[in-house]
Amino acid sequence: MNDNEDILATAGAWAAAGEQVAIATVVETWGSSPRPAGSQLAVTMSGRMAGSVSGGCIEGAVADAAKDAMRSGTPKLLDFGISDETAWQVGLSCGGKLTVFVEPLA
């Protein structure tokens, strides 16, 4: 599954221009998630974004987690879903569930 907007090229270009960059990737979905596994979102510490991991429902929370990952230098696995009792209290209106892997580009 390849997104055709080249998120990785954008991430690489931002990094080459001196930005701090993290990449978020949908690694697993259940139910009616809007984007399939492999969908990616690139985020910079300065707030630029390219791509998507959902229909817009969780991009804000993923961007926050991405900034944490850039600060700590450690990747992180995030779970999103309506029945989610964890810290990621972002509901998906579609009723789907998904797992997103966030990693800094280093």
């Binding site: 907007e5 690694v27 697993e28 399939p36 596994a37 450690t74 696995l77 280093a106």
Partner: protein
């Protein structure tokens, strides 16, 4: 992801090589397959993910791995640098297709009419033989001219192309089928041709026809019922 790995991944993609990025989700450790070795179950999953063009998950020795396939774009080979082809061109890249246009009529296949598109001005039989359509290729003929369309369809039907479409009315197609049958193609092979090409959305203008063709290509690629070959048509 390490910048060095990203550079290797992008180089592989630029070279249109099939690679899979394997990520251990516990700590983000990554490797690029097949450039780097992987335990047999991971390599097997990577091979499967590339073939299906779908990401996969695998648990190996208690560790969760994410397998992200990176395939080169699908190829859309169009015979005929027609007005419809011009309307089609800007839709192809965003939908994941690399467009290749074959037309020996050099007045049509010009860089000015097709900025940034791969243009081949050889005869379709030579060009198609060289392009060797595979299971990640679609072939669409748009010239209306049997001299150009038929040789391309002949080669497409002998290939594993996942989609074959031909512009022309049902009458035109019935005649075309008769000609291709004379070249030795059986009923099952000829039924692979989507004709008239494109989903039936009553398209009239070139952009509308281009949209109907791209919609049918997406349906075929994703395995939708709309993308299946329709019942054979009887000559009117």
């Amino acid at each position: 992801m390490k910048a060095e790995l990203l550079a290797r991944l992008q180089a592989a993609r630029a070279a249109k090589r099939q690679v899979a990025l394997l990520t251990r989700l516990s700590d983000g450790a990554q490797r690029l397959w097949p450039d780097e070795d992987a335990p047999a179950p991971l390599a097997e999953a990577a091979r499967g993910a590339l073939a299906a063009d779908e990401a996969a998950n695998l648990t190996l020795d208690g560790e969760a791995w994410f397998i992200h396939p990176h395939n080169p774009p699908l190829r859309l080979i169009v015979v005929g640098a027609a007005h419809i082809t011009q309307a089609l061109a800007p839709m192809t890249a965003p939908l994941g297709f690399a467009l290749i246009v074959i037309d020996p009529r050099r007045a049509f296949a010009t860089e000015e009419r097709f900025p940034g598109v791969t243009l081949i001005d050889d005869w379709p039989d030579e060009a198609m033989a060289r392009l060797a359509p595979d299971a990640r290729s679609a072939v669409v003929t748009l010239t209306h001219d049997p001299k150009l369309d038929d040789p391309a369809l002949d080669i497409a039907l002998k290939s594993e192309a996942f989609y074959i479409g031909a512009l022309g009315s049902r009458r035109t197609h019935a005649k075309r089928v008769a000609r291709l049958a004379e070249l030795g193609h059986g009923e099952a092979a000829l039924a692979r041709i989507h004709a008239p090409v494109g989903l039936d959305i009553e398209a009239v203008t070139a952009p509308e026809i281009a949209l109907s063709i791209m919609a049918e290509l997406v349906a075929a690629r994703r395995g939708a019922a709309l993308g299946a070959v329709r019942a054979p048509r009887v000559a009117a």
